[in-house]
């Protein structure tokens, strides 16, 4: 059994919360006391059935206003998989919340209202999927009950969306016709959509597999150095961190960045047991053959396929604060465990998030996505998004208030 992390994108009107509620409800993931609490809250649909959307609205303000403000994580499990759902608001004023949720997901479910088809919001959500390099897009054409379950409606939307996917260069896209409200094709196959022969939503989520990009190179950001300095272990020095990518093996030639010092992997430890190799996502301890100076924030990488180490680069940025990006301000860039002072001396352009058109000569403000140049006070160790997406990501912190004000993805050399 493994884990699938996905985000659902769509607005309240698209029935996003209803879809999640339906998935939880139909997989028996909602317990009696939780249902009781929902019934107590007394929110009903027009037809008198319990409003499943309330399951995902965790904050008082959200329940009062009937909207999702923040990202909520929901969990359910079948015999095949554990699922982590990032439930994020879909409205344009919450783009930052959606980006947050998407950054913690592998797959995105984009909800399209069968009556409305591909709209501005669909384009925005798809653009975010591309921006964050999500591995799979699943388009659920929802509210099929409102269009008499007509195949032509579904096929037209599919054709429209495929055009959009081509423009955005989204590679992995699938489609399912559903009605979250009525439960069609969510968990059980719908008789009312007999023309559709593909999997139900749950079947799909249980079985989808992703192509992993990085099966031949790895990065190891050092989080913590373990040095017990006890009588039994006077010389023990282990570098603790989590592996990115594949291929990390005992004996590998390595280079430590940004210093550039070379060595090799002497041993790999997991829970005080020695391993021959470590894999993507494992939290391990590395030992090197040479006694060199390495501390938190350094990167140990494969010498045959090293990461970049540069003081400037071009990146896509997503901005989270009311206060606009200030080109004179020093910000902090945090990538994995490393923090570096930076400035953003140039805004190349920003994107219209609905049409993806470039807009020039404008500030980057709350919920904006743009393309910038970054200049750093020291070498920053990273990869380009197209080569190694897991090592192209960083957050931006404003040192004046310590808030996370933005996120960036390195796209190119400056």
């Amino acid at each position: 059994m493994n884990i699938l992390k996905f985000i659902t994108a769509g607005s309240v009107d698209d029935g996003k919360s209803t879809l999640i509620g339906r998935l939880l409800y139909d997989t028996n993931s909602i317990l009696d006391d939780q249902l009781e609490a929902i019934q107590k809250a007394n929110r009903k649909n027009d037809d008198g059935t319990v409003d499943l959307a309330i399951l995902t609205d965790g904050l008082k303000a959200e329940r009062e206003q009937g909207i999702t403000i923040d990202v909520a994580y929901k969990y359910f499990q079948t015999e095949r998989r554990k699922f982590i759902i990032a439930d994020a608001p879909g409205h344009i004023q919450y783009t930052r919340n959606m980006i947050t949720g998407a950054s913690n997901s592998d797959l995105i479910i984009i909800l399209v209202d069968a009556r409305k088809g591909v709209i501005e919001q669909t384009k925005r959500h798809s653009f975010i999927a591309k921006l964050l390099s999500l591995k799979q897009v699943l388009v659920c054409v929802n509210k099929m009950d409102m269009v008499d379950y007509e195949q032509a409606v579904f096929e037209n939307i599919k054709t429209d969306y495929e055009k959009l996917a081509r423009n955005l260069k989204l590679e992995h896209v699938d489609f399912i016709p559903v009605s979250a409200l009525k439960g069609d094709n969510i968990v059980a196959k719908s008789d009312r959509i007999s023309w559709y022969t593909g999997p139900t939503l749950l079947d799909y989520l249980e079985n989808v597999e992703f192509e992993e990009k990085n099966n031949s190179s790895w990065r190891f950001p050092v989080q913590w150095v373990i040095r017990p300095q006890t009588a039994e272990l006077p010389d023990y020095r282990g570098y603790a961190g989590r592996v990115l990518g594949e291929g990390l093996t005992v004996g590998d030639e390595v280079v430590v960045l940004p210093s550039g010092v070379r060595s090799s992997i002497k041993s790999i430890e997991l829970n005080q047991i020695e391993l021959d190799a470590a894999h993507n996502g494992q939290s391990v301890i590395l030992h090197l053959s040479d006694d060199i100076d390495i501390s938190r924030g350094d990167f140990i990488v494969s010498a045959t396929n090293a990461a970049l180490s540069e003081r400037s680069f071009e990146a896509n940025i997503s901005w989270f604060e009311n206060k606009a990006l200030d080109m004179n301000q020093v910000y902090l860039l945090q990538n994995h465990s490393k923090v570096t002072k930076i400035k953003i001396p140039e805004i190349l352009y920003k994107f219209d998030v609905n049409t993806q058109e470039r807009i020039y000569d404008e500030d980057i403000r709350l919920n904006d996505i743009g393309r910038i140049v970054v200049k750093a006070a020291d070498d920053v160790v990273f990869d380009l998004n197209r080569d190694f997406p897991e090592n192209a990501r960083a957050i931006i912190v404003d040192p004046r208030n310590n808030l996370t004000v933005g996120a960036l993805i390195v796209e190119d050399f400056a």
Binding site: G58, K60, Y73, K82, I99, W224, I226, R242
Partner: protein
């Protein structure tokens, strides 16, 4: 990767980020299964070294004796440091006033003791075993959750948390609550405890004990429950699904004596874990309100 391996690796990563980002962190230890799991994960994160933080227990004085015995055994086993904050000290100092009446509980008082303990030791990060599946307000909380100098959580001013990059920068006086097992469910914790063969206090397993019915739930018959002539004390076979203060943690009727029995029981259960917590039943937003005040 197997799902338990994934959850374990993520939790270890988060614990190491705490070690790297903070000067004076602590691990909040309640004696319950979630914080016991955290101690196990900390061993995986930092051995053969020592933990870069002490364990901190906020003791209401109404804990199950089995929990306290287990806590002391675990400290002995791991050789790590324990700091205890006593709610009784807060009462003696006049900082809090004990509730009156039959259903009096020290559970809400521990917020004050917790905040005082954090201040006294200048902890800048407190690791806790809360999970997002427990309660709907917790489902919205970040893994690194910043609290202001009054320990308060502001759900509307949470920092966006992207990928696995955690921003733990704070001003002096603020602190961060860190939840490494946010993405675990109750069932995940039990499956992990079984896989890793983690020892637990005996009250998690079915045992015979005197219980008393309060507000429709079976509570352990202890002095702190103010048992009077109206109460009918019964001897039943029960276990506890969560372990908190005796005044707010209800027992469930159970014959589960092995971990496999417990796992089967949870899979078949139609009531959530916090369904047996009186403290959550006060109002729909009970947890959110307590978190805003500084609760775990």
């Amino acid at each position: 990767m197997d799902y338990l391996d994934h959850l374990e690796a993520e939790a270890i990563y988060i614990l190491r980020e705490v070690a790297g980002q903070f000067e004076n962190p602590a691990l909040l230890f309640s004696g319950g299964k979630d914080s016991i799991t955290l101690v196990h994960l900390a061993k995986k994160a930092f051995r053969p070294g020592k933990f870069p933080f002490p364990l901190v227990h906020i003791d209401t004085g109404h804990n199950f004796p089995e929990t306290i015995a287990f806590r002391d055994w675990l400290i002995e086993q791991t050789g790590e440091k324990l700091i205890v904050g006593l709610v009784q000290d807060s009462i003696n100092a006049g900082k809090v006033i004990e509730q009156k009446g039959k259903n009096a509980s020290r559970n809400p008082l521990q917020i004050v003791t917790l905040l005082d303990t954090i201040e006294k030791h200048s902890f800048d990060a407190c690791i806790g075993g809360a999970r997002r599946d427990e309660e709907k307000a917790r489902a919205k909380e970040r893994i690194f959750s910043v609290r202001d100098e009054f320990g308060q959580w502001d759900p509307k001013r949470q920092r966006p948390e992207l990928w696995n990059i955690f921003n733990g920068r704070i001003h002096k006086g603020e602190n961060v609550r860190v939840f490494p097992i946010s993405n675990w469910t109750e069932l995940d914790v039990w499956n992990y405890i079984k896989r890793e063969n983690i020892a637990l206090p005996s009250i998690y397993f079915s045992h015979e004990r005197d219980v008393v019915l309060r507000n429709g739930q079976w509570m352990a018959a202890a002095d702190c429950l103010n048992i009077d002539a109206e109460d009918r004390v019964e001897h039943r076979s029960v276990r506890f699904r969560t372990v908190g203060d005796m005044t707010c943690t209800a027992a469930v009727s159970s014959q589960a004596v092995e971990l496999d029995d417990i796992i089967a029981e949870i899979k078949a259960s139609t009531v959530s874990e916090r369904g047996a917590r009186m403290d959550d039943k006060v109002s729909e937003a009970a947890m959110e309100e307590r978190k805003k005040q500084g609760y775990f």
